[in-house]
Symmetry: C2
Subunit: 605 residues, 2 copies
Amino acid sequence: MKNIDFGNVRVTSGFWHEKQNMVKNVTIDSVYNRFLETGRFDALKCLWKDGAPNQPHIFWDSDVAKWIEGAACSMHIYGRDEHLEKIIDECVDLIEKNSDENGYFNSHFLVTRQDERFCHRSDHELYCLGHLIEASVAYYETTGKDKLLKQMCKFADYVEKVFKIEKSAGFVTPGHPEIELALVRLYKLTKEKRYLELAKYFVDMHGIANPSEGLYSFSENSYNQDEMPLRKRATAEGHCVRAMYLMSAAADIASLYDDSELFNACERVFDNIVNKRMYITGGIGSTRIGETFTVDYHLPNRSAYAETCAALSLALFAGRMQELDENSKYADAVERVIYNGFLSGVSMDGKSFFYENPLEIDPDFNNVNTSTTEKEKHPITERVEVFDCSCCPPNIVRFIPSVSNFVYTLGNDTLYVQQYMSSDAEFDGIKISQQTNYPSGGEVVIEYSGDKEYLALRIPGWCKSFTLNAEYVCRNGYAIIRTSGNAKIIFKMDMPIEVVMSNRRVHDNAGRVALMRGPIVYCIEGVDNGEDMKNVSLDIHGEFELGECDFMVPSIKTVGYRDVASDKLYYPAEDCFEEIPLKLIPYFAFANRGTTEMQVWILKK
Amino acid sequence: MKNIDFGNVRVTSGFWHEKQNMVKNVTIDSVYNRFLETGRFDALKCLWKDGAPNQPHIFWDSDVAKWIEGAACSMHIYGRDEHLEKIIDECVDLIEKNSDENGYFNSHFLVTRQDERFCHRSDHELYCLGHLIEASVAYYETTGKDKLLKQMCKFADYVEKVFKIEKSAGFVTPGHPEIELALVRLYKLTKEKRYLELAKYFVDMHGIANPSEGLYSFSENSYNQDEMPLRKRATAEGHCVRAMYLMSAAADIASLYDDSELFNACERVFDNIVNKRMYITGGIGSTRIGETFTVDYHLPNRSAYAETCAALSLALFAGRMQELDENSKYADAVERVIYNGFLSGVSMDGKSFFYENPLEIDPDFNNVNTSTTEKEKHPITERVEVFDCSCCPPNIVRFIPSVSNFVYTLGNDTLYVQQYMSSDAEFDGIKISQQTNYPSGGEVVIEYSGDKEYLALRIPGWCKSFTLNAEYVCRNGYAIIRTSGNAKIIFKMDMPIEVVMSNRRVHDNAGRVALMRGPIVYCIEGVDNGEDMKNVSLDIHGEFELGECDFMVPSIKTVGYRDVASDKLYYPAEDCFEEIPLKLIPYFAFANRGTTEMQVWILKK
């Protein structure tokens, strides 16, 4: 099975169309300007000298590369743009000009540590190359311009020589995976099998070669994905983004080599995440220390790490898994991520970003400043325009324009509809369109013509009942419809407000519930509901109504209960509540109205 | 008003008698042996050389001093003990031998940094002296031996010269208060006013002199109690033990100088603690970072710092405040501390200790090891026999034998009964005895003869109803009884099981209640109740019964409810509980049966 590239699936209206417009009109420019101000673009000139400001950082090339990829994806949708291409072409020229005779380019090492090339496993050289490869592929696919692509092929060849053939590098596998999935992408475009084999080589060597090399002082082998060979894994460990980028590549390798052992390992890790280590928002990473997975069911809300990039990387992994196995759990995970823990990473105006996406904000306590240099480190309470470690903003720039990568998967005789969004698609002799106001409503009208005998509509995990205007059988979470080459399907998913609880072992959620409607997770904010959100309870059998659409989808209204205020610290327990009107907004829209309390998991009355 | 020294109030049976026996029979020897093994006693020889093991630490003298004080207090109760006196006399001889001509002694500075005396504000020289003074007073009061006392007077005179007269030291006030209250104690014994004046000088200079000197990298001015002059304070800030030792001295100064401005500041700080910054156990300190107070209502349970010494130091402060003001809130705080957050610091067998006393233990998550060198730092889950920073064990050794320091306060015409424990006392022409099985039961029989017109029995804050076999009026939390010089009072406090809730602003306790009976706070443990203690709820209107006395006071039995186990991580909310028999034990006895879950704040069903 294969996913259909976003280039063949044009989002036409509705939720994601609005988000893609936002990226085109605001986010691309905003991130560009912040990166320009902070010297990330100038770094490509390789003119930095000791003592000058803005010393190129080890991962700056990846920031620029992801921005280029995002701009290219956006142009793929909206048409080419002279201004953007001029910027990108200048970048490409600089990269070409400053690459050495081997094709090597790295704006940090070339100006600060010329002699230390490929010596430091932790220093992101191959990670940067991976993102440059992805940028070069996207830019070529949008514009046909191949200068960067050729340059990156040359660089990739050099990496193959140094790492795989001569084995002369100072380390075997990169500390931060990314090159692996980029090489697969390069292979898919160029059909040069050596890139695929190099990707497989890196994937296979993780957990075998140099397991404790390149460790930060605070990290363990799992941080760099060295705890064991991939094929033996049963749990998700270490740095979440590293883990998910590597598992994404592993899923690609499993697919392209038809490697069931590797697939089984991927599935075990995937299941471990979605059954035991994932926030309800699709966020992953339970601690800021190492930005890592921790142990099963350890999902603290206030100190959640749940990085935007980590959520996105889980979608990348799950999206690849849906190519390997007919099981709606993968697309369910993609959906959970894209509407919640990923999307919360960007403000409604498209200009500012969260790195961490906690499920609870308590400003008085988040900002507890117990010391001048070391805080109880909790996530920030409002989004900002740029971080020192600004991996998340350009990841949003590239992800939203390409979100329709996840919509269709093509099998031998079946076309899978994995995600629902208004869109027109044409590929492999197939034409298919969707009309829907999803996720505000659950009705999707699908018009299809093509030679696949079956259409498989994912029945989302949240969906308890639906109607279809066609005969179907249910299989592995899909409604399978036999078509005669043309079909107009009306799929009506009931989308009530659902009260959700979590496994009793998630101790941080004990006694608490969350509200969802369709794929959207909701939260309460202080700005709507007053003080002490953590003390507010709701009746799970109470009445819930849809309210205004302040943030793209309806809000939810119900009655909340809060202990009556007291001057005492401890006092005899009594049932003494005040009733308050309670308004819930979509989680992805939290913290768009200043610093305020926020709570996803709400007390059960 | 003045408190009656424990030397005049002999505990005769019951709860504290058992604890005093434990200290006498087990804890004194156990702590001695651990200190001997770790080189703390040998350090007094001042023979340590570079490269040898057990380099004397800056605070080791204080560990030994507190142990001496504790042994002396215990001998005061149980009679003199040749073996203990031999150990102590050897220590005293070593201190005398190695003190210089000025009386200066410090086993760390004398062997490692001879030239750096009184240069480092953070390095505990005056703190160690303070504890040596307290030891010398206690040893003299028990044995009449004055060698150490004389030596410490000489040392104190030297400190007065260097710090107050010549002002030639490298700092003005000590980073860690303790000398202040020790000097007051020395003054009370010797009647030498210069010691009192020196204490007052240090108290007054805090927050005025060198506010940012001697700070650790992680700390702020408040850490060393320099955020502002004491008289201006309204909140408790910084390192809890430092704060409480200093406030204890401030209360002494307020009393001895009749200084109402200082008393008012002490009361404001006290009220801030007990109304906004104190755990239900009497523990204080909401973060391990700097071991500090944080902000109002920030009382996290699992990561609580709540050091044993901090609880004890709050009792020292509150005990002094009860001399200054007729208000039962001070003795209520003492009681809360001594039966809960202080007493939990020592195991039931008297051999092992907690530094931190959390209100929740979740071993799977407490021990989350996300990295090799930096953990999510949570309290340990079982007590240990010795720590590197072993301030708490000898504080227990000195506190329990002297606990009857808190029982009586003598006013002009009134004798206040602040704490209830079986005891015989004789002082100032008064004879008073108590017979009670408190805190297992609430009946106290008091026999009194003396010339004070009034007996004032504290009505504990937890006590909602009581009977007295005499006429009384209630005033400031006391039942005031007029006597004719002889009285036999039968005071029956009803002691039902109480369900207690906390202020809604304590977000970590939202939706949760704690059980108390009398002064005892209860908890549930996994060893009694199975898994997932944080998910267990109880009906606040349910039935509660007293159970067996496994740990000195009755346990509590009721019905608990726990969500039915599920394989799913998130699922539709339903009312699907399992009922379990729930057993609660006194908090002070938690973690005496291996590593297990523990929870003070229990979900409300």
